[in-house]
Amino acid sequence: MVEHAEIRMVRRGGSKINFREPVITNDSRFLLCAAGESVNVYSTSTEEFVHDLQGHTDLVTGVVLNPSNHLQVYSCSADGTVRLWDFMDGILIKTFIIGYPIYSIYVSEKHGGVVFVVVPMANYKSSELFQLVAVHLPRSGDQEVEARELSAVLCDVSPHPGAVSFGREGEYIAATKGLQLEVFFFKKQKSYRFSLKSGMKKGVKNAFTCVSCHPKEDCIATGHADGKIRLWRNFNQKKEYTYTTLHWHHGAVNTLCFTPEGTNLLSGGIESVLVHWHYTQENQKDFLPRLGAAITHIAVSPDGSLFCTSHSDNKITIIQSCVKVSAIIQGLVKGDGVWTDLIIDPRSKALVLNGKPGHLQFYSLHRDKQLYNLDIVQQEYINEEGLDQFEVVKAAFDARGDWLATVEERRKKGAELEINLKLWAYDKLTQSFVLNTTVTAPHEDRITGMFFSPSPETTMLVTTSLDDHFKAWLLADHSDTKGKLASYSEGFWSCDFVGGYHLLKPGCCSYSADGSLLAVGFQEVVTVWSPASWELLTTLSQPPGAIRDLCFGRLSCSKYLLGTSTKNQLCCWNLLTCSLEWSTPMDVSLLQADPLSENMAAFCSQSGSSDLFVFKPSEPRPLYSQKALCTGKVQHAVFAPRDQMLESCEERTQWLNRSQTSAQLTPLSRSLPQLLHTPAHVLPSASFLCAMFVRSLLVSRSSLCLVGWGTLLHSYFQVSPEMFDQVQVRAPAAPLKDIQRLVPKPILRFLGCVLRVVVLLQGEPSPQSENRL
């Protein structure tokens, strides 16, 4: 047993750096941004991480420069404190305890010794209402002081930090919420409210989203949910205020910012275009398009030379003189989900997962930095809501990191699934991956698993899919075409084998450590194949429950095959005897093998939290166990190699509480007639199929196969699936309802077209068109 004290769980990084507006220091050398519970300091010229300011115990919700000392910065946090830092040296100067969770912080040069913070209203228990309060910071020498001197400025403000802005020379403060703009004048101690009609043409799209005040003139710019920008003037009385409207954005205006001199107004939204309005000539505007993702915040350096934009993909872009992107600070991108699982790139040891839409990100665990982004989909990204985009759903590296396989899919409502399998070769010159082969529609349904063979001799890829088949893809040696296509020196990938087992859906597959065996889990049955000859060597089955994960042991335990099932079983088979070595009732949600040792990690979910067990397949007693690792279910985990070579490996977990998608089951035919249904490019070569065809016509000698360890005789052995299939295809002309089962999809769509033309031209709706296919 390993001592428990040695192993502890550490949070390593991946914080959000686009949570709040970043701050550029007066000398434009550093950029400060809130990142989780700390404030990160980056260099604006080299985009390198300099250091972080640690001390807060909860999420940092705002960072502002101290207006009276440009080497100091205030930060506020949900832990109820405002802290003053020296960001050059990373020293905490003072902590002011406010006592309420703080949502944002504002300062003004005219209001020395006062910070304005947004806190929940004290007398409302539900923290739905917020107020803007002025906090007088006591001048005392202590490190930690309580600042209890609060005076409310505005009630009922939005907790969004962009919804409040100081006006010219701190004379007034503007706040927006919903359909209301409120301006508070400090001299008069009076506030004016201006509201927009909600029912202006198209309803509630009029809502304010952000506000920014002109630094030199009495002008307030507000952004709206319908993409309009309004410039308010003459607002120091209730009645005769005016506003002008600027409209370019088609989505909501996320953020607005005036340059320090007030000559320009910057705005950004979901279009990921930075729009640069000239203040005096409002119809003139410049654009900086394709910044990558929706803009969430814009900040300008105090001298106006640098702009920086935060984006929704956890990125901060630094823009020089409004035209050139000079630096990009990129954190771990949290996309809509991690479909690809967590993968370690064998070459760079980086963590690989979904990044920006249609991209894979390579993220260095040790430096908490994104190394690079690989564009998988290679299509222009359209920033529009409600659009079905291509998503990378599977990725796999081969053992040496020379090949990367990716699967992208797009599911449209009511249309066919579009799947592409892409294979990328590592290019030593450019140090990145280059597209080698694209296979459109490699399977007819979703791909559930994709693995490379670990053996160094053959580069083979296996994909399993819900269309009842698994396919093996091989790097074909096109020596005959080499002369003509000299530029393609490596050859292309092509299908080598299509396998299936009794029309069951393959769920998972695993290669043995030397690549000589392939185990594919078909629901309750584990089939073991020899990749060299594609013979079904043996089948293993176990008490009911579909196989969820399969894993071969490694090194000294390579004779063991481990499987987990949906019905709370963890089984270990001995492949030498084809018998069950041991099994234990455990609800294992995730099983991972350590690539460097023979250890395995299993995550179990029990009563809302996850437990971790590390064990060797040869002995059913765990080496290490950690109860209640985290709340929720662990979705993905991977063993990550350490930078320094240590004996043990660390676990890295990431849990994303995502619900699992259920799969649609459709009846499909056997593998041999497959060659008549499927496009030729996703099938093995004709010579291979021909041999198979001829063999199928011959009477084969019966061979003995072992199906071990079933306490129950499974029902699928009693019905011959082939005969069942026959019945379906040869069924007599069925009523229209059943046609879906009998007719392949393309015909269905054609039929739809014809029926409609008939209806259109003849003018009489036929009964068939009512229940259109």
């Binding site: 070595e581 196969c705 011959s720 026959q726 009998l742 769509r749 039929l751 031209l761």
Partner: protein, 521 residues
């Protein structure tokens, strides 16, 4: 800042014939020159002398054409009836021709009047040839006889009457002056030796023989008759070697390409097939407008001349490599040498810092419009494009952007009919069907209201409907075939047996597990 990513045009696998060296070789001919003759062209023969003129026998005339002339260089018209089989002697000086009036005439190529006239046959003479010593003439006639004639004193040397039907083809050995072969409508091929009274070898073609051909080595003989081309091994005493059945009508003429590696056969089914003579597989195929009666290849395959029943003579000349280069060179005016060298030969110094120019990406017109979100214009541009894969790729891109419906809408009659035309042309192409069916459905949705207002659009809609209906029928037929195949497969598979054997009971880790072996396929 990322740049605009252009629309991806997928590369589809090329269907159809494979590109082999043979197809490259035989496709390297120019468009054919066609000359109208007075009647069916029954025979073509190339002169062995340098300009390689060729004699074309058609109706009552023999025309001699130069290699590139469209007009005959010389004409022999002194025939009383239809002329047959105009043949050059191996020195190219003399020409012999048979005639329907049973007279064989010998001409000097430069003269006009026949030098010698050979009379003796009683019916039309379809076969004439010179022997390899140049002093004798072989003739074969419809009176079932073949004869040898002496040129200097125009007398008959020998006559063989062994065939029992018309003799319609024959050839002389180029290596031996005494050997010749004739083929007849009595289904036989006979090899004669002038020194012997009787034929020395007989082969049965089992179809009326239309043409014979001797290989240059004269070890193999090719005959054609009916739909068959047969190859005979003369050295093994006339043993049949191969029988080829690639035509579906009578094969009328045979030819050999200059290097002897390819055999050509021409047939009434309007095709010329080219075979590899090592494995006798068809390597290429030419199509012609009418049934072919005669075929000849110029030395070195410089041209292929084919005569047809409708009297059209078609001449294909080989493309010369110089010509190709000339065309390419003329199109572009090359910049001066200095332009190319400018700056190229500058050698950077040791600590120079390279600044590379930003690469300017060139976008296609539809991509430029897509970049500006001009979706309708982009679709118009794509429709103007000749390549359907580009049009379909743009449609797919629009569909991905969710704006295909907007792009398809708002079209007038002319625009809509252009769109429908494209659909009619491509909707059943399996490469494009998924995208185009979506587009078709959208068009039907959009233009539902205006159906019946334009006759052009209505006609196109009906055509589209017919097309799609036919496609459904095809698919259903295919499904039926699949079903039949499935039954075949199912019956051919052996029955599965399920045998259970309980052997031992083990207790591991609190579980009692029965060990069972299941015997099955």
């Amino acid at each position: 800042m990322a740049s605009f990513k252009p629309t991806k045009i997928p590369i589809y696998p090329k269907l159809g014939e494979k590109v082999t060296p043979d197809t490259l070789y035989w496709k390297n001919y120019k468009a054919p020159v066609q000359i109208k003759e007075f009647g069916a062209v029954t025979s073509i023969d190339f002169s062995p002398l340098a300009p390689h003129n060729y004699a074309v026998t058609a109706s009552t005339r023999i025309h001699i054409y130069g290699p590139f002339s469209q007009e005959p260089v010389k004409t022999f018209t002194r025939f009383k009836d239809t002329a047959y089989s105009g043949k050059f002697r191996s020195d190219g000086q003399l020409l012999v021709a048979g005639c329907e009036d049973s007279v064989v005439r010998l001409f000097d190529v430069s003269g006009k009047v026949a030098l010698r006239v050979f009379k003796g046959h009683t019916k039309g003479v379809h076969v004439t040839d010179f022997t390899s010593d140049c002093y004798h003439i072989l003739t074969g006639s419809d009176d079932y006889t073949c004869r040898l004639w002496d040129i200097p004193n125009s007398t008959e040397l020998t006559s063989y009457k062994e065939h029992t039907d018309y003799i319609r083809c024959g050839t002389t050995s180029k290596l031996n002056r005494d050997i010749f072969i004739t083929g007849s409508y009595d289904h036989t091929l006979r090899v004669f030796d002038a020194r012997v009274e009787k034929s020395v070898m007989t082969m049965d073609h089992s179809q009326p023989v239309e043409s014979v051909l001797l290989y240059p080595s004269e070890g193999l003989l090719v005959s054609s008759g009916g739909r068959y081309v047969k190859v005979w091994d003369l050295l093994k005493g006339g043993q049949p070697l191969v029988s080829l059945k690639n035509h579906h009508k009578t094969v009328t003429c045979l030819g050999l390409s200059s290097n002897g590696q390819r055999l050509l056969s021409a047939s009434l089914d309007r095709h010329v097939k080219i075979y590899n003579t090592t494995n006798y597989k068809v390597v290429h195929n030419f199509d012609y407008a009418a049934s072919i009666l005669s075929l000849a290849l110029a030395p070195d395959d410089e041209s292929i001349v084919v005569g047809m029943t409708n009297g059209v003579l078609s001449i294909k000349h080989r493309k010369s490599p110089e010509e190709k280069q000339e065309v390419a060179g003329k199109q572009r005016v090359r910049p001066v040498y200095r332009v190319f060298v400018k700056g190229r030969n500058y050698v950077p110094k040791k600590d120079d810092f390279f600044v590379s120019k930003p690469v300017k990406s060139h976008l296609a017109k539809y991509d430029k419009q897509l970049k500006r979100f001009n979706i309708s214009k982009a679709l118009d541009t794509a429709l103007e494009n000749r390549k359907p894969d580009i049009t379909v790729a743009v449609m797919k891109e629009l569909d991905r952007r969710g704006t295909l419906k907007n792009a398809l809408a708002g079209r007038d009659e002319q625009n809509l009919s252009q769109l429908l035309n494209f659909l009619i042309g491509n909707v059943v192409d399996p490469r494009f069907t998924p995208v185009l069916v979506t587009a078709t459905e959208m068009i039907l949705d959009i233009y539902q209201a205006v159906v019946g207002q334009s006759s052009v659009v209505d006609r196109q809609l009906v055509r589209l409907q017919e097309l799609v209906e036919r496609e459904i029928d095809y698919q259903q037929d295919l499904l039926e075939v699949l079903g039949m195949l499935d039954t075949l497969f199912a019956t051919s598979l052996p029955r599965k047996e399920v045998i259970l054997k309980t052997s031992c009971i083990l207790s591991i880790n609190l579980h009692l597990v029965r060990n069972s072996f299941i015997l099955y396929l």
